[in-house]
Amino acid sequence: MQTLYFALALFLLLNLVAGMWRVLRGPTVADRMLAAQLFGTTSVAILLLLAQAENVAALRDVALVFALLAAVTAVAFVRRAWTDPETKHDAN
């Protein structure tokens, strides 16, 4: 079972690194933010797998914080960083 947990964690980390391409590529700001969102969900899964594999219960708390904070950054993004009124860049 231990091997499976680690293999799956590695696989999820690979997924995460592949998602990095979307952060670099864009094209809109929302796309980059979305990719960061994906990282949050994937890291929650990785942390839970590691918690089970190494039998460290504290990692589940870290996963809980990840789940909460993904929302905080995304709301900060929508409410603050993406408010400038001009739409001409994206409207084409």
């Binding site: 670099l24 504290a58 990692l59 870290v62 950054t73 994206d90």
Partner: protein
């Protein structure tokens, strides 16, 4: 073996992320890279056997600082918009479509 692969992938992507975040000319992209860096750094602390540091890194490094940086960028842009018609500060993100 699997531990090894996991750790080296984590370390390499951390280095790469740090480099991209530092050198990116697009501020918004740099912030998102910084947030991802914080998330991966937190995973690295977990692998180093320090879940408490990982907790702090996730909360402060990725969450709080990320939100503050986004707010700061918005402030920068609005200052840039007010100060001039067309310039360099406000041109981030959405531009490269």
């Amino acid at each position: 073996m699997l531990h090894w692969a996991f750790d080296s992938l984590l370390g390499l992507s951390l280095l790469w992320l740090a480099w991209r975040a530092l050198t990116s000319p697009d501020l918004f992209k740099a912030i998102v890279l910084f947030i991802s860096f914080g998330l991966l750094m937190s995973l690295a602390w977990v692998r180093l056997g320090a879940p408490d540091v990982a907790l702090a890194e996730a909360a402060i490094g990725a969450g709080l600082t990320g939100a503050l940086l986004l707010a700061a960028l918005a402030r920068l842009e609005s200052i840039g918009e007010a100060g001039r018609q067309k310039g360099s500060i406000g041109e981030t993100g959405a531009h490269d479509r």
